[in-house]
């Protein structure tokens, strides 16, 4: 697993280059793909349907999921849906992203974070280590507790 790095103001679990293309809206992206397939970064707002991106995942290098308020949890489902359908590019949580949400976000497939209020790499590393084990299988590759209890030979 790639270690947490702090690069260009982005907390990341990736060792490729930070994507700096401007992110376009989901609507603009989906329209653009049919016209001029150049955009490689898209920004998902809470009310957007992440499934609209599924036919185009191979064109995307960056998906930003915006959290205008951290209490709006739709972005967690958006992230998981993208990963469940094979998206491997950068998945970045932006906006009202606080230390207490980092570990859940990572479990839902986010591998990059740009909090509106900066979080130090040390504090973030501690937050990612909050749960020694996890009960659910998600998209982060962690082995759930039930699988540890019943290892497949």
């Amino acid at each position: 697993m790639v270690d947490l790095v702090f690069a260009d103001n982005v907390l990341r679990f990736r060792d490729d280059d930070v994507v700096s293309d401007p992110a376009v809206t989901v609507d603009a992206f989906v329209d653009a793909v049919s016209g001029q397939p150049n955009a490689s970064a898209v920004r998902v707002e809470p009310g957007d349907d992440a499934r609209a991106l599924l036919p185009h995942l191979d064109r995307l290098a960056l998906v930003e999921v915006n959290f205008p308020a951290y209490t709006d949890g739709r972005g967690y489902s958006a992230a998981r849906i993208l990963r469940e359908h094979g998206y491997t590019g950068e998945l970045r949580a932006v906006g009202d992203v606080l230390i207490d949400q980092l570990s859940h976000m990572r479990r839902c497939g986010f591998d990059a974070f740009v909090p509106a209020l900066p979080i130090s790499a040390d504090a973030a590393a501690k937050a990612f280590a909050t749960w020694p084990e996890v009960y659910q299988k998600t998209v982060d590759g962690r082995t759930p507790i039930w699988a540890r209890r019943h290892p497949v030979a």
């Binding site: 209490t71 709006d72 967690y76 489902s77 469940e84 909050t130 749960w131 659910q136 299988k137 039930w146």
Partner: protein, 544 residues
């Protein structure tokens, strides 16, 4: 019952550390109250009228004597010597200090308990039939499924910031003792013609501002797909539940607005996708959990008769003791509803006494009921008299289960910051008015439920008689509802007319019971008579 392994223990220990750190940051000013509030709520810590209140999870209402004893000790050590058992099968402490809360959580963790997700817009503590594993009419023991659900819902990363709170109840018999259809999701374990077990999902029930009875969304989901189905049901809600208006944010509004068929279609599509991901714990995990709930140590060939020569004891047995599936055993319900008392409150000493009785006479188990009483699920019939004597000596032998004084009452304006009116004084006055047990038994089963505001923690919509506290220009006022039920014949009560003050409502309740006694036909409960004759005769007697 279930016991933690190292994995479960590590989770609650990690939570204590996390919360200790969050409290430290709040007290040091690194976290504002706006940011801290949702975090403390996910640990069940509220700021109420007089102090912080902590709600402790009692998963599916089940606990052992060691845990019960710890709850009593916590009441002494961190609170003012008592606790309040709630309609969510939990316990609340009313006088907690923020800086002591992490230590309290550590004491809970030492006995495999926690306050995880007892508040906040997340999946709350799962509730279940309080007679699970004991009831003579049980088809399937729901507890292993409830434990599977507990683990799945604990720190679920996708569903921690739902549009609103989310409550799941699970039962395994035809008799609904858990108000299952009045939950966001109710699961009834059923058997098909081939004898296979399945989960019937009711989705979109609830009380509160807009009470609704949940429709069936899936008739038969195999138990080894239960978690996947829940993932699908919750994902549709998380994505499409309303977030623009907190009063319309519960899943019942989503299901109502798009319709049960459309909701089912969306869940089915999501379910088909989720089944491809392998999220479901393997059969061996369900079997492992079931192992904890298998025979708790029943003895065979016990005598099945009870000596009822003491009339007070006989009365209590008739009212508070239920049939057990195991010959020679019985289910005891301890009523926390003495005449003039506070429904659901128990002193630290009473809590410890109930723990001792569970250890010595009930195979070490207790249950908390949504009606705010305590169950000793497995008592030998030969021990019933001894148990009753010990309860009687502690003021806990009230023989009023399901009678008019077995009142559900939320904390109301005496404790709750959301309240419009007090609930407890009403319960006290009504239970005093009907203190004569002969009179209560003459009236028979009558479920009276009181809420101090529209949030309906006291289940007033589901009372045969319901009472709702409202604020009328700064004074307490009470509305009266008739005709609710939260049993298998679930129905919602309706307001019968203008509201009353405190004394007026007690008189109105008494008049209603008079109408019932005059009009009832053979075998009818209050609710049955009301359903048959309608509201008019009651209104005439009360307002006429």
């Amino acid at each position: 019952m279930y016991q933690y392994d190292n994995y479960d223990q590590a989770m609650v220990d990690a939570r204590v550390d996390e919360f200790r750190d969050q409290v430290k940051r709040r007290l040091a000013g690194e976290l504002s109250e706006d940011h801290f509030r949702p975090l403390r709520l996910k640990n069940g810590l509220y700021l109420q009228l007089h102090a912080y209140m902590l709600r402790v999870a009692i998963p599916y209402g089940t606990l052992n004597s060691r845990q019960m004893r710890a709850l009593g000790d916590i009441a002494d050590k961190y609170d003012r010597g008592y606790g309040h058992f709630t309609t969510r099968q939990n316990i609340q402490y009313n006088w907690i200090k923020l800086d002591e809360a992490p230590d309290l959580l550590a004491d809970l963790a030492a006995v495999e308990m926690h306050a995880i997700q007892t508040s906040g817009n997340c999946i709350r503590n799962t509730t279940a039939d309080h007679f699970a594993g004991a009831a003579a009419d049980e088809l399937v023991d729901p507890r292993p499924y409830a434990e599977l659900l507990r683990q799945w819902s604990t720190f679920h990363p996708e569903f921690d910031y739902l549009p609103r709170k989310f409550k799941v109840a699970i039962i395994g018999s035809e008799t609904d003792r858990a108000a299952m259809k009045l939950h966001d999701i109710g699961i009834q374990l059923v058997k098909n013609d081939a004898g296979e077990i399945g989960c019937r999902f009711y989705v979109g029930g609830g009380m509160g501002r807009t009470p609704m009875i949940a429709p069936v969304i899936a008739d038969f989901v195999p138990p080894l797909q239960m978690i996947s189905y829940l993932e699908a049901a919750l994902r549709v809600y998380n994505r499409y539940g309303r977030r623009d208006n907190k009063y319309k944010a519960r899943i019942k509004i989503l299901v109502h607005e798009i319709g049960a068929d459309e909701y089912r279609r969306q869940v089915d599509a999501e379910f088909a996708h989720i089944l491809t991901l392998g999220l479901e714990p393997p059969p061996a995990e369900l079997e492992r959990i079931k192992g904890y709930f298998a025979n708790p140590g029943f003895e065979a060939d016990l005598p099945d008769n009870v000596d009822l020569s003491d009339p007070d004891f006989a009365l209590w047995v008739d009212q508070n003791v239920h049939a057990h599936k195991q010959p020679g055993y019985a289910i005891v319900t301890i009523s926390l509803k003495p005449a003039g008392g506070i429904p659901g409150d128990a002193s630290a000493d009473q809590i410890r006494l109930m723990a001792d009785l569970a250890r010595d006479f009930a195979l070490d188990e207790l249950r908390v009921t949504h009606a705010q009483n305590i169950v000793l699920p497995h008592v030998k019939k030969a021990d019933l008299y001894t148990v009753w004597q010990k309860l009687d000596a502690a003021g806990l032998a009230n023989a009023n289960l399901d009678l008019i004084s077995d009142i559900i009452a939320c904390p109301g304006l005496d404790y709750c910051s959301l309240a419009n009116a007090r609930s407890i004084p009403l319960a006290q006055k009504i239970s005093e008015r009907f203190a004569d047990i002969g009179r209560q038994r003459e009236i028979g089963e009558l479920k009276l439920k009181i809420s101090g505001c529209i949030n309906a923690c006291g289940h007033h919509h589901a009372g045969h008689i319901g009472i709702l506290g409202v604020d009328r220009k700064g004074t307490e006022n009470y509305q009266l509802l008739f005709g609710g039920s939260e049993a298998a014949d679930t129905s919602l009560g309706t307001i019968i007319g203008p509201g009353f003050n405190e004394d007026g409502i007690v008189d109105a309740v008494e008049k209603a019971t008079d109408v019932y006694l005059a009009q009832r036909e053979d075998g009818e409960r209050f609710l049955d008579t009301y359903r048959r004759i309608g509201v008019a005769p009651f209104k005439e007697a009360i307002y006429g």
